[in-house]
């Protein structure tokens, strides 16, 4: 596989300079390294700028409803356990409208990788607060500045028992593509929250703002991502310093393992034309 194998013909509709480009490139890189063919990979998204990504890469693409990226991703993964399923979603898509699916799919632990383009804003709908918008930020709806406490997706994911909790930064493609590959290779629900400047609507959390703050947590070799308490502490860091990298990682049985899907015939390979109910009907006699 090389990068051209993942080239899509669709015209990119993002603003020049948007952080989404960095995410797109990193993802392509990681897919090259993954080595699977485009036809065996499925990208699923909801609606938003982030959610347009699957069109810009040559892989299978299910671009569903706003907030509903995770359910079809998990449905597809269950139907065909041999697919590599990756979700590209936004902070609004995943943590806002889609919050309930985020919550429960972490518990479900299907083997999917969820990349959240976290630009701390609703980009596509022109700049309302998202769940991760910093407190105080003024928008046309939040005219006095955001008053809700901004959400802490990483802490939440840890609290929910997510086995792979990471944060990336779109401008560090090398690091991000490494994270993505780690996430894809992790068995179970992998969350990668990616810091992504929205150059048009987020005038606070800019490239400069992030670049000044991010540091790689895994550079510190003593950092043990399996230590939950440590992970909680790291995940809560947000201010002068913002950690990126694998914040928390533990092995857990995936949905496929728990249901035995990994050992059974892939569901879509079952022949269904002549299923025989005779035995079942006996129960009704």
């Amino acid at each position: 596989m090389n990068i051209n194998d993942f080239k899509s013909n669709d015209e990119i509709a993002w603003c020049p300079g948007c952080g989404d480009f960095g995410i797109l490139n990193a993802l392509k890189k990681s897919l090259v390294k993954l080595g699977r063919e485009p036809k065996d990979i499925l990208l699923v998204s909801g609606i938003g700028q982030a959610a347009k990504l699957p069109h810009y890469i040559k892989c299978n693409c299910f671009n569903g409803l706003h907030g509903r990226a995770l359910p079809p991703a998990v449905g597809a993964k269950i139907a065909n356990n041999s697919l590599t399923v990756i979700v590209t979603t936004g902070d609004g898509d995943c943590y806002g409208e889609g919050g309930n699916h985020f919550l429960h799919n972490i518990r479900r632990n299907a083997d999917i990788t969820v990349i959240v383009h976290n630009n701390q804003i609703y980009g596509l709908t022109k700049g309302q607060a998202s769940p991760t918008t910093d407190t105080g930020y003024v928008t046309k709806v939040q005219t006095e500045g955001v008053i809700l406490e901004s959400m802490h997706p990483l802490e939440m994911a840890i609290a929910l028992g997510c086995g792979f909790v990471a944060r990336g930064y779109c401008s560090d493609a090398e690091h991000l593509s490494w994270l993505m590959l780690e996430g894809i290779n992790h068995k179970g629900f992998s969350l990668i929250d990616v810091l992504q400047p929205c150059v048009t609507f987020n005038k606070k959390n800019t490239y400069e703002w992030y670049s000044k703050r991010v540091y790689k947590v895994n550079d510190d070799k003593t950092y043990n991502p399996a230590d939950k308490e440590l992970a909680y502490r790291k995940a809560a860091e947000w201010g002068e310093k913002i950690p990126i990298g694998i914040i928390y990682k533990v092995e857990k049985e995936s949905y496929a393992e728990k249901t035995g899907l990994d050992k059974r015939n892939v569901l879509i390979d079952e022949k269904i034309e002549n299923i025989d109910l005779s035995l079942a009907l006996k129960d009704f006699i």
């Binding site: 609606i47 069109h55 269950i78 139907a79 309930n100 569901l267 079952e270 009704f284």
Partner: protein, 566 residues
């Protein structure tokens, strides 16, 4: 000897009326009778008033009656609630001592609690009642105890034998104290039949149709479909996943379907509200999905455990925007089975959402059916098979075509990738903003697919319509009362049942109703939604509708009574 009997067992939720009733159903079925049974229950787990109704006959049954010939009350308030519904010659059975009620001539005193207590536990009261009724109906044979054994299978030996003793005691009490033979049932042979309710039939239909992924969120009265599929999931390599909410349920199903698995979800009206955006997604992405709406009285939470047919208008246009859909409305257990298989075929063929509209009455009512003929139904696939997939090149998911249907490939089977999109898209599945492409795509999803769907609509079932003075029309679970009332009318009343309400069988219905003067819809709703639909689709104005919207199903006698006023 009665040509038929209706039996009612009433008590508080949790007193086990359903167990007694269901055991009697199985006993009667094995004895060769036809039954129709229904459990009327409140939205609570203990207390209140629930009752099990069981109608038994030598001929096939399709509906309930108003009055009961035998009523057994397990608590005191049941006497007040149900005493009035006893038929003229009927038998009312109660435990006067337990409830401290003065023995009256009008009821038969069965010291069921004392008998059960003497066996060590008042819980055996159910088996006492079961035995007693068996005695009154004269049903003693090996089956009487087999049924109990099966019911308690897996339980401790002691429990089983105690229950058998309880049943025996009840039986003997009847033989000794209730001397009349008037309820004796003659041995019958209906042949081997299946005892089943509507939800079980839908579940079996789904399994037969090759449903491999079932996601749903519990909601009465749909939940037992999920239970039944879950119960058999392992045997048929199906995954049943309880979703976090109905939105997830339908979106998971759509995802599984996109990947190539036949997929289904089920819910009731309130949950269906939450699926509506998903219905629209299925249509836009052209991903098949089968959805059951097991209706219950609404709006909002309504009557969770009761019946209604008030979602018809809603389903006809649920979802924003315009697209083709099919709506099936099975009227019997058999239809529930066959139409569910058909639903999967249609959904896959037209790549659309197909709705199965049922209701609590059909969902929960038991009947014995001759059999479900597995061979008369065909499971047809409308995807590019794995073999065909090898030859596919330059695949475009939404290729324009005369039929509106684009060949559907399965991800990973073809060498190309497959883009699907909830935005308006061009043929290859990417977002477009083009006006011309938009118009074509709307025509594809709406007009063209509708044409195909219309050409294979499940036609109305008409009985005795030509000669009849009055023609009744219904859809879904009213089939039973319509049929029985028509059968009893000596040719005066005919009826039409619509197993499919969308696309509407316009031509056929116009032919059928041609020049008929008295046409009456019979509907479990308050606004005559079917009458409205008939009018809007055929231009025929229905002058009269018999509507019932108190949460209870029609019964034969009620309908006859209503017809008298016409």
């Amino acid at each position: 000897m009665f040509p038929e009997l209706t039996l009612k067992i009433s008590g508080e939720a949790g007193q086990g009326m359903q167990t007694v009733g269901f055991n009697l159903c199985r006993l009667l079925k094995r004895a060769g009778f036809f039954i129709f049974a229904n459990h009327d229950y409140m939205s609570r787990v203990r207390g209140g008033n629930n009752f099990f109704q069981l109608r038994v006959s030598q001929k096939p049954l399709y509906a309930l009656r108003e009055k009961s010939d035998i009523i057994v009350v397990l608590d005191k308030q049941s006497l007040a609630i149900h005493g009035g519904s006893l038929s003229k010659e009927g038998l009312l059975v109660a435990d006067s001592k337990k409830f401290n009620i003065a023995k009256e001539d009008s009821f038969f005193d069965l010291p069921m609690n004392e008998i059960a207590g003497s066996l060590g536990n008042e819980l055996f009261v159910n088996s006492v009642v079961y035995g007693f009724i068996s005695g009154v109906l004269n049903l003693l044979d090996g089956d009487m105890f087999d049924v109990i054994k099966e019911d308690f299978s897996g339980k401790a030996e002691a429990i089983i034998s105690k229950n058998i003793m309880a049943a025996k005691s009840g039986y003997e009490f009847a033989k000794v104290n209730f001397k009349s033979e008037k309820f004796f049932l003659a041995k019958q042979s209906a042949g081997q039949t299946l005892l089943m309710n509507g939800n079980e039939a839908i579940a079996l239909g789904a399994i037969r149709a090759g449903c491999k992924f079932y996601s749903a969120y519990p909601m009465t009265p749909s939940t037992s479909i999920m239970n039944e599929v879950a119960h058999r999931a392992k045997d048929f390599n199906i995954v049943v996943e309880q979703a976090e909410d109905e939105i997830a349920a339908i979106n998971m199903a759509i995802g599984a379907s996109y990947a190539g698995a036949r997929a289904m979800t089920s819910t009731s009206g309130g949950g269906f509200c939450l699926m509506v955006e998903g219905v629209s997604l299925s249509a836009m992405t052209e991903t098949p999905v089968v959805i059951v709406d097991a209706q219950r009285p609404a709006p909002a939470t309504g009557f969770p455990t009761r019946t209604e047919q008030s979602d018809l208008s809603f389903l006809l246009s649920a979802g924003h925007g315009e697209f083709a859909r099919a709506i099936l409305a099975p009227g019997t257990i058999e239809e529930a089975f066959y139409l569910t298989v058909h639903a999967f075929n249609l959904a896959e063929k037209y790549q659309i959402p197909v709705l199965i509209m049922t209701d609590q009455h059909l969902a929960d009512s038991y009947r014995n059916v001759a059999t479900l003929d597995q061979n008369s139904i065909k499971v047809e696939r409308f995807i590019l098979s794995k073999e065909m997939s090898e030859k596919v090149d330059n695949y475009k998911r939404y290729e324009l075509s005369d039929s509106g249907i684009s060949p559907r490939a399965i991800p990973s089977w073809i060498k190309d990738v497959i883009y699907v999109d909830s935005d308006e898209h061009a043929e290859e599945g990417h977002i477009t903003e083009d006006a011309v492409m938009r118009t074509r795509m709307v025509e594809k999803r709406l007009h063209k697919k509708m044409q195909g769907l219309i050409s294979e609509v499940v036609e109305p079932k008409a009985y005795n319509v030509e000669q009849a003075e009055v023609v009744l029309i219904g859809f879904g679970s009213t089939y039973g009362v319509l049929k029985e009332v028509s059968d009893m009318s000596s040719g005066k009343i005919g009826f039409i049942h619509l197993p499919q309400v969308w696309p509407f069988p316009t031509r056929k219905l116009i032919n059928l109703l041609n020049e008929k003067v008295k046409v009456i819809t019979v509907e479990n709703n308050a606004s005559g939604q079917l009458a409205k639909l008939i009018h809007s689709e055929t231009g025929i104005k229905i002058e009269k509708s018999i509507l019932k919207f108190d949460g209870r199903p029609f019964n034969v006698d009620y309908l006859i009574e209503q017809l008298k006023t016409v």
